[in-house]
């Protein structure tokens, strides 16, 4: 599935890119405009993505992807979901809370005990906030509290 989905998605991206690129001022060969190079890149992208998609659907490269067992797949999906949740929540709940929840949840689902997960969450959230916000002056969002 993945072996077909990835080239297909990239083909769609390339096609969208091409439609946007042709709207930019192309210029002439002697005075290339802002759209000159993007159009060349876009045509190249569409051609190679099309070829890759075609070969994936003809089954030429269907081998090689190792199927994951249920538990492994769940661990990866939870980690990705936690990353997305962190990015969504950061502006609203602030860095310390988001970092704590992120570390605790991911650790727990990777197989750590609740106590380990919670303690590591507190320490890593406080530690990284201290280093980045206090020492390095990064304006990490603090949240409503």
């Amino acid at each position: 599935m993945l072996a077909r989905a990835v080239p297909l998605v990239l083909l769609i991206v390339a096609a969208v890119y091409l439609t946007l690129a042709v709207r930019l001022p192309f210029g002439t060969a002697a005075r290339p405009g802002a759209g000159f190079y993007p159009v060349i890149v876009a045509v190249f992208a569409v051609v190679v993505a099309l070829a890759a998609t075609a070969s994936a659907f003809r089954g030429m490269r269907s081998a090689a992807v190792v199927q994951l067992d249920h538990a492994s797949r769940r661990r990866v999906l939870i980690s990705v979901a936690a990353l997305v949740a962190f990015c969504l929540a950061l502006p609203w709940v602030g860095y310390p809370a988001a970092a704590f929840a992120f570390v605790a949840v991911v650790l727990r689902y990777l197989g750590a005990r609740w106590t380990t997960a919670l303690i590591t969450g507190v320490l890593s959230s406080a530690g990284s906030y201290g280093i980045f916000a206090a020492l390095l002056d990064v304006p990490l969002p603090r949240g409503p509290w």
Partner: protein, 508 residues
């Protein structure tokens, strides 16, 4: 400044306390990420890049490069003791290295690997001194057509060499080039592909892309396994000394590996990995007992371990003398210099000698530090492997998140990180090498600018562009390297009717 004068000046820069400390931190971090499987030097360099913004450019370069070559030392330790490659450049080492461990010669394997790396590192630095200066002298005559030809040739070669199918590599290049056009057009100031976003007008930053592909994606691979216990062989200090016979057998492989590595490093491609395969094959061919390879031959450790270090040195030459990075690691080094307004290229060696020579001298010092760090203290680094993997993996994810945000305090960078993390993970599952994407993202803007300038110069004639002796030769050589081998194979195989099935190995 001649090489000797320059080197003396360089040592005066590299021996300054700040730079010595930066060098130490770099090689220490490099060794640790080298030892740890799953977290490679590129991810670590991307993570630490923001912390170098406040440093002098020479200091930044010294520290980041230290991570790069330090990882080549550390990677061998895990390969030899655990039978898992610490990083990609040490995959070959485990073939014979782990077999040596099983026969009780782990100490000898570690020592030969470290000494081989040291010799190759030192030979490599001498190579940089000679080659970079010479290449910079040549490159001063280069105009936009030549730079365009070099970037084009580099991307073609990289696609050919990156392993796996060339079609996949081209898709990665196309994607990287397209991403490179997002943002303000440097010539007409027109906003392209920004969808009205102010943040996107600045372009897509390299660092969150790299952190995603080389940091997040690798942690996701670790997450598949959950909690895994590693079995680590124990090494006693007095077992570290190889026998006289082992030394004798390692000498020539180390010498050959150093040269092979440096030369491979000059060519665009995944040099560190590729050089180890070349060196291993070479040693097997030179050996009187090739059938014994894979059973614990010390030659199979000495050669590849020397070559991957030589390759990291060789890769610095195109970066320092042309200003063109051909690998994700050197792309980060370029990023570190550009942030300080420094444009590596033929003029940098003469205009900013403290950066070039300070960096070269620091590589001598760094390699010496690594030899000391990796031999007597090998036990200490091995204990890093006893850290619980799942905790480490989670903390690396958190560091990637906070690191990506801290680059320019932008939420967009966070999303770039996550999207490329997931994308990089998918690529790993499909065995597609993402490095052409990263290199194309860096080279893309350079390629566009030089193409437009060159066409302006030649009044729009593509023929004039390729007909210039220098640019024409470069494009011709690249085309020959790209299409020569498959054509020769096609002619030999005499199966013109059927397409040739593509292998997925790096030796393809």
């Amino acid at each position: 400044m001649g090489p000797l004068e320059g080197l003396a000046y360089g040592f005066s820069v590299a021996l300054m306390p700040t730079n010595l400390f930066a060098c130490f931190v770099g090689v220490l971090v490099g060794t640790i990420v080298g030892v740890l499987p799953g977290i490679g030097p590129v991810g670590a360099m991307a993570l630490l890049l923001p912390s170098t913004f406040a440093m002098h450019p020479a200091t930044a370069l010294i520290m980041l490069a230290g991570i790069y070559y330090g990882a080549m030392y550390g990677g061998s330790t895990t390969s030899i003791l655990v039978n898992v490659p610490g990083e990609a450049g040490s995959v070959v080492t485990l073939l014979d290295g782990y077999q040596m461990t099983r026969r009780g010669r782990a100490g000898a394997a570690l020592t030969v690997a470290a000494v081989g790396s040291f010799v190759a590192g030192t030979v490599g630095v001498i190579g940089i001194m000679l080659a970079a200066g010479w290449l910079a002298d040549v490159a001063i005559q280069f105009g936009p057509p030549e730079y365009f030809a070099i970037t084009l040739a580099g991307l073609l070669l990289l696609s050919r060499l990156s392993g796996g199918s060339i079609l996949n590599a081209f898709v990665m290049v196309a994607l990287g080039l397209a991403l490179g056009t997002v943002g303000m057009d440097s010539i007409s100031a027109l906003r392209r592909f920004t969808f009205g976003s102010v943040q996107l007008a600045q372009g897509i930053e390299l660092v969150p892309v790299i952190m995603g592909i080389y940091g997040v994606a690798e942690v996701l691979l670790l997450a598949e396994e959950g909690i895994a216990k590693t079995q680590i062989a124990k090494v006693k200090l007095r077992e570290l000394l190889p026998t006289r016979e082992e030394w004798r057998r390692s000498t020539m492989p180390i010498a050959r590996g150093s040269v092979v590595g440096f030369l491979t490093g000059l060519v665009p491609g995944p040099a560190a990995v590729l050089s180890t395969f070349i060196s291993y094959t070479l040693e097997k061919k030179m050996s009187k007992t090739p059938e014994k390879f894979g059973t614990g031959m010390i030659e199979g450790v000495a050669g590849p371990e020397a070559s991957n270090n030589g390759a990291t040195a060789g890769a610095m030459v195109p970066l320092l003398s042309l200003g063109i990075p051909f690998s994700p690691a050197t792309a980060i080094l370029l990023g570190a210099l550009v942030v300080h307004g420094l444009q590596p290229g033929p003029l940098m060696i003469s205009q900013r000698p403290e950066v070039f020579w300070g960096f070269v001298a620091s590589m001598y010092i760094g390699n010496l530090m690594l030899l000391i760090l990796n031999l007597p203290l090998v036990g200490l680094f091995v204990s890093v492997l006893r850290l619980p993997q799942h905790i480490l993996a989670t903390l690396v994810l958190l560091l990637c998140l906070v690191g990506a945000f801290s680059l320019s305090n932008s939420f967009l960078d966070l999303w770039v990180l996550v999207v490329f993390g997931v994308f990089g993970y998918a690529l790993r599952k499909l065995s597609v090498d993402p490095s052409p994407l990263v290199v194309a993202l860096v080279l893309g803007p350079m390629m566009e600018k030089t193409l437009r300038q060159a066409l302006f110069l030649t009044q729009g004639s593509v023929i004039d562009l390729v007909a210039r002796p220098l640019s024409g030769t470069i494009v011709f050589l690249a085309a020959a390297a790209l299409f020569g081998p498959p054509l020769v194979r096609l002619a030999r195989s005499k199966r013109f009717a059927k397409p040739i099935p593509r292998g997925s190995s790096a030796s393809d």
